[in-house]
């Protein structure tokens, strides 16, 4: 769907055809859910927050001016809501028991063909849990949902250099954690 088609669809929704909003929900729900799940860590919470995001987006649709894509706009809402949920629930990375917490539930995995990949998956989960929610959002948007640096700047409101620095730091952090765990796994 092009930007023009998206704007046209939104105009139709605003003019009273609210049932068309379901198309937008279906189009973006998986991406929003994946992101929120990475930040709030818990499937029920993630689904609830994702629903809240779409409900809030619907009632704020009038403020969408089409300066950015709908996806970027709704990511911004998701970012704010997911971060505020983690603040409310005080699920800071320090309080999470790394051995018992899964950011992604086991059935979210497509089972890997080789053992190393499976080990990497669990290592990555542990590494993600140790990150701050904001950093988890950045890394997941960048790698999982293939958002560009420019889009991340628009979504988070951080400066470009801040986003780049954070991503670089997270990558280094993840690399260290992965390598440390690799040594533990292989002895």
């Amino acid at each position: 769907m092009t930007r023009e088609e998206e704007i046209l669809l939104i105009k139709r929704i605003l003019s009273g055809e609210s049932h068309l909003y379901k198309d937008l929900v279906e189009r973006h729900s998986a991406n929003i859910y994946n992101l929120v799940l990475g930040v709030v860590s818990g499937r029920e919470d993630a689904e609830e927050v994702s629903q809240d995001v779409f409900v809030k987006a619907f009632f704020s649709l009038k403020s969408f001016r089409g300066e950015c894509s709908f996806s970027t706009w709704i990511y911004r809402i998701a970012y704010n809501m997911a971060i505020s949920r983690t603040r409310k629930k005080k699920r800071h990375y320090v309080t999470i028991d790394c051995n018992n917490s899964n950011i992604f539930a086991d059935d979210d995995f497509v089972s890997g063909k080789d053992d190393e990949r499976e080990i990497l998956h669990s290592m990555l989960q542990r590494a993600l849990i140790q990150l701050e929610p904001k950093d988890r959002f950045l890394i997941l948007s960048f790698y999982m949902n293939e958002k560009t640096i420019k889009e991340l700047v628009e979504i988070t409101g951080m400066s470009e250099s801040n986003v780049k620095t954070r991503l670089h730091r997270i990558k280094k952090q993840l690399n260290i954690i992965i390598n440390e765990n690799r040594e533990i796994v292989y002895g």
């Binding site: 609210s18 379901k22 279906e26 994946n34 779409f54 009632f59 890394i139």
Partner: protein, 127 residues
Amino acid sequence: MDNLDQQLSDIFSRLKTDKMDNNFSTDVMTRIEEEKNIKEKRKEDLTQSLFLVLCTLAFIASMFLLNRYFFHIKADVITSATKGYINDFAIMFQNESVSRWSIIVVNTIILILLEQLLARKFSKKIK
């Protein structure tokens, strides 16, 4: 993109859920309808309250005008009558036992209201 980037992209892309079940969008639409109804009800309540306030003001104004131009009652007569009522009320509270019981009643009401308020807040937090 370096090797680590490639590795991370590969792993993350395998972690993601590609499609949500149909219930998700249906649930969202149901919640939107519910919110719409709540907002409409709130708007209706507000309109009714405003209408009630306007009617009350119109009623007071009409009574005032009726008193002044039809019954020829001056405004200072009304004020002195109001003052009289207030004085009667104040005299009642000069009695020690009345004022003591009034304080007890007011405190009890405040405590009940506080208890209700806290109970609501806690039940919301538990939810």
